[in-house]
């Protein structure tokens, strides 16, 4: 089950891993996941597509930023703790410096009408990016094991709880997440018995 580290090409050292993830992170505008797939699988051939999908599934299950989780898991498998740290640091270091520089400069130009307007426009677009991605994911709920209707109702309840009632996320995850887990578990087990 564990993907074997076969004769695929791969980084030879943790520092090569660091630079590879730095390069990917700096190309990833509005999310790095798509770039990581293209680079690791299609361009460098460090992972097969199957390995990538498997890793991504686990990275998504785990809490934390998906792409950071993927980097941690990949680096850990190759070089242990050093590899995990190298991949994560590569992902974060340069974008972090770049972003904080932008943030510092923004403070200086915060009074500038065009700058404020540009950020306002980009903020509206950023909200749309997230909504669009959510709609893409919502497509998959139609084939949800617990049935499309309960899945959509739970999604709607989560939306109402967070956006309208402004409840704490802890509450949503434990209560609605617990219900979702129970319903899905039952549906999957019924499917297995059949």
């Amino acid at each position: 089950m564990t993907p074997t580290l076969d004769d695929r090409p791969g980084p030879r050292t943790a520092s090569e891993l660091f630079w590879a993830f730095s390069a990917m992170a700096l190309q990833g505008f509005g999310g790095v996941m798509a770039v990581v797939q293209r680079e690791l699988v299609e361009r460098r051939g460090w992972l097969s597509n199957e390995q990538f999908v498997e890793d991504w599934a686990v990275a998504q299950v785990m809490p934390g930023p998906n792409v950071c989780n993927l980097a941690l898991m990949y680096g850990d498998r190759l070089f242990g703790w050093r590899g995990a740290l190298a991949a994560l640091a590569g992902l974060l270091a340069f974008p972090l410096v770049l972003l904080l520089t932008l943030g510092a400069l923004y403070g200086r130009f915060a009074q500038h009408a065009a700058m404020v307007g540009a950020l306002r426009g980009m903020g509206a677009v950023a909200a749309g990016l997230i909504a669009g991605t959510a709609l893409k994911l919502a497509d998959s709920l139609r084939r949800h094991p617990m049935g499309a209707l309960p899945a959509l109702l739970l999604a709607a309840a989560a939306f109402a709880g967070v956006a309208l009632a402004r409840l704490p996320l802890h509450l949503i995850v434990f209560v609605l997440g617990g219900a979702a887990y129970g319903l899905t578990w039952r549906a999957l087990r019924r499917g297995e018995r059949r």
Partner: protein, 194 residues
């Protein structure tokens, strides 16, 4: 901010880390609820600008939390990024937030990844992954909703909502590069059209 406030901030980030199922951006509503509305460590404009800048810049989306921390540090030092003290305070804020929000989830991922990989066919693992997917959709839509909150003026807000809706539609239905959308939003905003 007192030392106790900084400790609060760190604890807050640590406690949220394990709830970020579905990506860092699902934490935005909770960040807003606590940091802006609850503690008042950040202004609304700073919060929105941080997210917009992080979406516009390359790198993982989780870095918006670094920028929130940066701004909290700046505010604690009295505002504008002038002098070494403000810079140090801002950097410290960013470091507290990033380390806090990433450490628990990263450790859990490292320890759980191998286990999950060995047991990915288990009912409990599949129910967890698929069950939570329904919540992720609702929470992401709530994030988008809160980011697109109107500022009060009817005409401008109407156009901003429209921009958000059109963006969501384009992301959902087309493969248009996200960078074009952000650039268009920046241009429309800078020209004062939205």
């Amino acid at each position: 901010m007192s030392l106790a406030d900084w400790a609060h901030l760190l604890l807050f980030q640590l406690s949220l880390s394990l709830l970020a199922v579905g990506g860092a951006v699902t934490l935005a509503p909770e960040m807003h609820r606590y940091l802006v509305q609850g503690q008042g460590w950040l202004g609304d404009a700073q919060f929105n600008a941080s997210i917009a800048l992080a979406q516009a810049a390359p790198g993982p989306n989780v870095l918006f939390i670094a920028l929130l921390g940066w701004n909290i540090g700046l505010n604690a030092a009295g505002g504008a990024p002038t002098g070494l003290f403000a810079l140090a305070s801002a950097t410290f804020g960013a470091a507290v937030c990033v380390a806090g929000v990433l450490t628990p989830s990263s450790l859990l991922t490292l320890f759980a990844a191998r286990w999950a990989q060995r047991h990915q066919d288990r009912l409990a693992v599949r129910a967890f992954r698929q069950g939570l997917s329904s919540l992720v959709v609702g929470i992401m839509l709530a994030t988008s909703w809160l980011l697109a909150q109107p500022s009060g003026r009817w005409r401008e807000d109407g156009l901003l909502w429209l921009l958000t809706a059109v963006t969501a539609l384009l992301v959902w239905r087309t493969r248009l590069h996200l960078l074009w959308l952000l650039a268009a939003g920046a241009l429309l905003g800078a020209l004062g059209w939205v």
